[in-house]
């Protein structure tokens, strides 16, 4: 049962370089849907447009084109409709040090959403809900935590507060934009486990944005890979990671650190195909004009060919697995 559908989502940013305005296409015709009780991961290198997608879904950034619909209805962008939308779609930010206002207490952070969305009948009810929220994210004793300010909490604790805040309006969709990348390795798992648990308890639809392929694989059912604003591959999580099709996904998978691979222990199921070392092209987003034609990965792609001068469409390679690459023109693995 899909909760949030996205169709043809586009975001162009106006850049000013050398006095001229250029359009930068940060997200290009992205379509996907989020379903209750499942996690979809969005992966890609830095600057590929992942956060922009999340921000558009959270209505922090206005899409240049495309539609977002909630329960099949196109969403409202202002007034009461917007508020209702925000009740349903909540976001957890990357930086727990930045997403909580250092000036306010934890209590304030949790009380505001309850107030704004009128989730509580009275103050006592509010207090009760705050306590429950904190307990749900394993922060106890709730009263003590509520009185603290962000700087008195560790990174992991802050991130839990941020999650509690996102849960306060009882949303149905949770957008988690790299929720653990700023945290210590040892705490990461906890937070991800927490989100996973809450997802199941509340039947949340979760969009998990990350650049960490391993956690993407472990915590989500589907994975979407973005490259410079474009969806280049999407499919079942294991399928995408273990049998990546798009040369870029392969490159990513090959680059991800994996101790098992090096030491050959623990029986890695399938060694990911290695890709020849690409030139030192730095990730950057080309202007709309530069993007107009051709495959964007062409310049770095070891398998680039003449056909790549035209932009490839998303081609299905297996059930629910699409790849934007001319290699899969005939619908099979080559």
């Amino acid at each position: 049962m899909s909760v949030l559908q996205v169709k043809g989502l586009v975001k162009d940013f106006a850049l000013r370089t050398g006095g001229r305005r250029r359009l930068l296409r940060a997200v290009d015709e992205l379509s996907f849907e989020l379903t209750a009780g499942t996690t979809v991961a969005l992966v890609g290198e830095s600057g590929s447009g992942k956060s922009t997608v999340a921000r558009m879904l959270a209505q922090l950034v206005r899409p240049s084109a495309g539609t977002i619909s909630l329960d099949g209805e196109p969403i409202r962008t202002r007034g009461r409709g917007l508020r209702r939308y925000r009740e349903d779609v909540q976001m957890v930010f990357q930086d727990p040090f930045g997403s909580l206002n250092p000036f306010h207490t934890v209590d304030h952070h949790l009380r505001r959403p309850l107030r704004v969305h009128r989730r509580a009948e009275n103050r006592a009810d509010e207090d009760r809900q705050i306590e429950r929220l904190l307990e749900r994210v394993n922060l106890t004793p709730a009263a003590v935590v509520a009185a603290k300010r962000p700087h008195e909490l560790s990174g992991g604790q802050r991130q839990r507060v941020a999650i509690a805040r996102a849960l306060a309006p009882a949303p149905r969709v949770l957008l988690a934009d790299e929720p653990v990348s700023m945290l210590d390795v040892s705490i990461r798992l906890e937070i991800l486990n927490l989100i996973d648990r809450l997802k199941q308890e509340d039947a949340l639809a979760v969009l998990y944005i990350t650049h960490d392929l391993a956690t993407a694989r472990h915590f989500s059912r589907r994975i979407m890979v973005m490259y410079r604003g474009e969806l280049v591959e999407s499919g079942d999580a294991d399928d995408v990671i273990l049998r990546p099709r798009h040369p870029y996904t392969r490159l990513l998978a090959a680059a991800a650190p994996d101790p098992n691979r090096r030491l050959g222990v623990d029986g890695a199921t399938v060694a990911p195909p290695t890709v020849p070392r690409p030139g030192p092209v730095e990730p950057q987003v080309a202007a709309v004009a530069d993007q107009a034609s051709g495959c964007r990965f062409r310049a770095r792609c070891p398998a680039a060919m003449a056909a790549c001068a035209a932009r490839p469409p998303l081609l299905p390679v297996a059930d629910g697995h699409d790849v934007r690459c001319w290699l899969y023109r005939d619908g099979t693995d080559s």
Binding site: L139, S186, I187, L213, A214, H218, P257, V265
Partner: protein
């Protein structure tokens, strides 16, 4: 106290990569100008840097014991990984190695010795001009954010030249410039970029420039403090590859600091795990991965899923690291440790080799039956980490 790890001091470092990759690296290193000396085979594995009982405190209102009683030996040509939670003292240790600490940091005890062919240098005893000339020439350093480590108002060339001017004043100016170009070329950056300012370079390029700078004087040791944390995985991979290629060629030893254990496991020969200012486990990368000893190491290994391996249930290490301003009589990890027993709270476990069969060093009572009052828990030997509690109690 055990001072050395016989396993790694004896053997040559294991190959860093799978066979295919190694071959490619060898082919690449052939591209490097052949005139450069490569570390003589005989010298590989001899100690180059020894740290003994080093303690560094931040003398603020409350004394922060950032590094406590650390023993480490770095061998020529090896990669020593240093991992641990944020704030456990990794950077402090790295800075201490290069005498970069500033007040309120102070080395309260211990020694750092640099071993040269013709004698040892007491690093903590150096000062003034001696210290200046020692730096970079023997130990170079690559910092986390290259954007911040490069002076934003000087061109890449100027910053490279600075190193040469400071250490090789006799070198002719044109030769220096030529050398700069050479260095950039070495790390895979177009020498045309010499005239660029740092902000004109991408993150990966900046990091490469930093590495080029670190290489400028052919140091024996390179300390890298989270050199790739801010970078994209693909770029990170590139840089690491570059690094191992250069290391293969020049034979410098690397102290690699990161909290990304999976990365360390992949690239280091030996790994030291730090917790709350102390080293709690030290072993070869392989041993650490296959048979972690310390519960904290076990917990860390449980903290990241394998990219390609089977799915398994994983928990992180719940709880928070201790406040370093508070002196802890027992094991600092005890409050978070699922295998904790009474002695853990009372005596600090020594970093030692436990039993004849084991390799590496561990600071854990569980391996000293006499202290622990029980045999090594089976779950621990299996590498299981079952957190005591998941809820985080926050003290009032």
């Amino acid at each position: 106290m055990i001072t050395d790890d016989p396993e790694s001091s004896r053997s040559t470092p294991p190959p860093m990569r799978g066979p295919a990759e190694a071959e490619r690296a060898r082919a690449e290193s052939a591209e490097l100008d052949g005139a450069d000396p490569v570390l003589p085979e005989a010298e590989r594995g001899t100690p180059v840097l020894t740290v003994r009982g080093l303690s560094v405190h931040y003398e603020t209102d409350q004394r922060v014991r950032a590094v406590e009683d650390v023993d480490l030996t770095l061998h020529r040509g090896e990669v020593l990984g240093l991992a641990g939670e944020s704030g456990c003292g990794k950077s402090t240790l790295a800075y201490a190695l290069n005498r970069l600490l500033r007040p309120p940091a102070r080395v309260v005890s211990g020694s750092v010795t640099f071993h040269e062919r013709d004698g040892d240098i007491d690093l903590l005893g150096l000062s003034g001009e001696e210290l200046r000339l020692f730096r970079w020439k023997k130990i170079a350093m690559v910092f986390q954010g290259a954007m911040n480590a490069l002076n934003p108002v000087l061109t890449v060339r100027d910053q490279l030249l600075d190193v040469l001017a400071a250490h090789e004043p006799d070198m002719a100016v044109p030769a220096r410039t030529a050398r700069c170009a050479e260095l950039l070329d070495l790390v895979g950056v177009d020498p045309a970029r010499l005239g660029s300012y740092p902000h004109e370079l991408s993150g990966g390029m900046r990091q490469r420039v930093m590495i080029a700078m670190a290489l400028a004087l052919r140091p024996d040791v390179m300390v890298m403090d989270e050199p790739t944390t801010a970078l994209d995985v693909v770029v990170q991979r590139d840089i690491l590859r570059e690094l191992s290629r250069l290391r293969e060629h020049f034979g410098f030893a690397v102290v690699f600091i990161t909290h990304d254990l999976s990365l360390l496991l992949e690239i280091s020969d030996r790994i030291a795990i730090m917790y709350a200012g102390r080293i709690v486990e030290q072993a070869s990368a392989r041993r650490l991965l296959t048979a972690p000893r310390h519960p904290y190491t076990v917990g860390l290994l449980n903290s990241f899923p394998s990219l390609t391996g089977p799915r398994r249930e994983m928990r992180g290490v719940p709880g928070q690291p201790p406040d370093l301003a508070v002196s802890i009589p027992g094991c600092a990890f005890a409050p978070r440790c699922p295998y904790r027993r009474a002695p853990c709270d009372e005596h600090r476990p020594e970093l030692s080799r436990h039993g004849q069969t084991s390799t590496g060093l561990t600071a854990c009572h569980a391996y000293a039956e006499a202290d622990y009052g029980a045999p090594v828990p089976a779950a621990l030997s299996r590498g299981e980490f079952r957190p005591v509690e998941t809820a985080e109690e926050i003290e009032t």
